[in-house]
C-alpha cells in the first residue's frame, strides 16, 4: 500500500513539474519578440520636421 502511495506521489510531482515547465516555456514564447534587431532599428520613428528657425538664424549670420 505504501508502495502505491509513493508511486502516486512521484507521478503527481512529475506531472506538476512538467506542467510548470510547459507553462514557463509558453510564457517565454509569448514574451519573446519575433522581430530581428536590424528591423527594430529600421522602424525607429523619424521626425520629418526641420528646424526652420535655426536655419534662418544661420542664413542671417554674416560671412566676412
Amino acid at each position: 500500500m505504501d508502495n502505491d502511495r509513493d508511486l502516486l506521489l512521484i507521478s503527481v510531482f512529475t506531472f506538476l513539474t512538467v506542467s510548470l515547465w510547459i507553462t514557463f516555456e509558453l510564457l517565454k514564447t509569448i514574451k519573446t519578440t519575433t522581430v530581428s534587431s536590424p528591423v527594430q532599428q529600421i522602424v525607429i520613428p523619424l521626425d520629418p520636421k526641420i528646424d526652420i528657425e535655426t536655419l534662418t538664424t544661420v542664413v542671417n549670420r554674416k560671412v566676412y
Binding site: S11, V18, I22, I30, P45, K49, L55
Partner: protein, 227 residues
C-alpha cells in the same frame, strides 16, 4: 547444466501469479490507473502538447509583431516623404549650413574670415595661430586612429583651437568681438584677454593719436562636423 524451462517455470510460477491477486484489488487498480494517467499526461504534454502550443503561440506573436512592424513602416515611409519634401524646400539654404559647420576643419577659410573681420571692424590683426588640424583628409585625433570606433551623435562634432590677437580702440575691438559672435562660421570664445598698450607703440600702427588703444587676445574654438 542445460536450462529446462519447465522446471524453471514451476519454480517461479508463484511470482508470476502474485501480480494477479494484486491487480484484482479495486484500490490497487485505482492507484495504477491514476499513476499511469499522470505519467501519460506528463509524457504527452512534454512531447506533443508543448511543441504544438509553442508553435501556435509563436505564430500568433509573429502575426502581432508583423502587423505592428507594418504599421511602423508605413508611418516611417510617410515621415520620409514629408522629410524629402522639407529637404527639397530648404535645399537652397543648405550651403549656409555647410559654411556654418563644414565637413572638414576648413581652418584657412576661418582665418581669412577673421582677417576680413579685423579689417572691417577697424582693428589690426597682429597674430593668428591655428592649432594642428588636418587640412585635407580625415581627422588625426585619437578617435580617428585604427581600431577606434566612432561614436554616433554629438561625438561627430569636432573642434580645433585658434589664437587671435588684435589691436585697436575699444569700439573697434567691440565690433570685432561682436563680429565673431555673429559670424556664420561657428566659433566660440574660450578665453579673452584685454590689455592696454603703450600709446607710442599704438601710434605707429594708427593715425588716431589721441585714442587709447587696447590689445585683445582671444582663444577660439572652430567647429566642424565629421560625417
Amino acid at each position: 547444466m542445460p536450462y529446462n524451462y519447465k522446471t524453471e517455470l514451476q519454480r517461479y510460477r508463484k511470482y508470476y501469479q502474485s501480480l494477479e491477486p494484486l491487480l484484482e484489488k479495486p484500490r490497487s487498480r485505482a492507484y495504477t490507473a491514476i499513476i499511469f494517467s499522470f505519467l501519460a499526461v506528463s509524457l504527452f504534454g512534454w512531447y506533443a502538447i508543448r511543441p504544438t502550443m509553442e508553435t501556435i503561440l509563436y505564430l500568433r506573436r509573429q502575426i502581432a509583431d508583423e502587423t505592428e512592424i507594418n504599421k511602423k513602416m508605413e508611418d516611417k515611409i510617410s515621415a520620409l516623404i514629408e522629410a524629402q519634401a522639407a529637404y527639397q524646400e530648404i535645399a537652397p539654404v543648405l550651403p549656409a549650413v555647410d559654411q556654418s559647420l563644414p565637413p572638414s576643419p576648413d581652418a584657412v577659410p576661418l582665418a581669412v574670415q577673421l582677417r576680413n573681420l579685423a579689417s572691417a571692424s577697424g582693428t589690426l590683426l597682429t597674430s593668428l595661430q591655428v592649432a594642428t588640424v588636418p587640412l585635407i583628409g580625415k581627422d588625426a585625433s585619437p578617435s580617428a586612429l585604427p581600431g577606434a570606433k566612432p561614436t554616433p551623435g554629438t561625438d561627430n562634432q569636432k573642434a580645433f583651437e585658434l589664437s587671435v590677437t588684435v589691436r585697436g580702440p575699444y569700439a573697434a575691438l567691440r565690433s570685432f568681438f561682436e563680429g565673431i559672435v555673429s559670424m556664420r562660421r561657428i566659433a566660440t570664445v574660450t578665453s579673452a584677454t584685454i590689455i592696454a598698450i603703450r600709446p607710442e607703440s599704438a601710434a605707429t600702427n594708427s593715425a588716431q593719436l589721441g585714442t587709447r588703444f587696447l590689445q585683445l587676445a582671444l582663444r577660439l574654438k572652430g567647429y566642424y562636423l565629421v560625417e
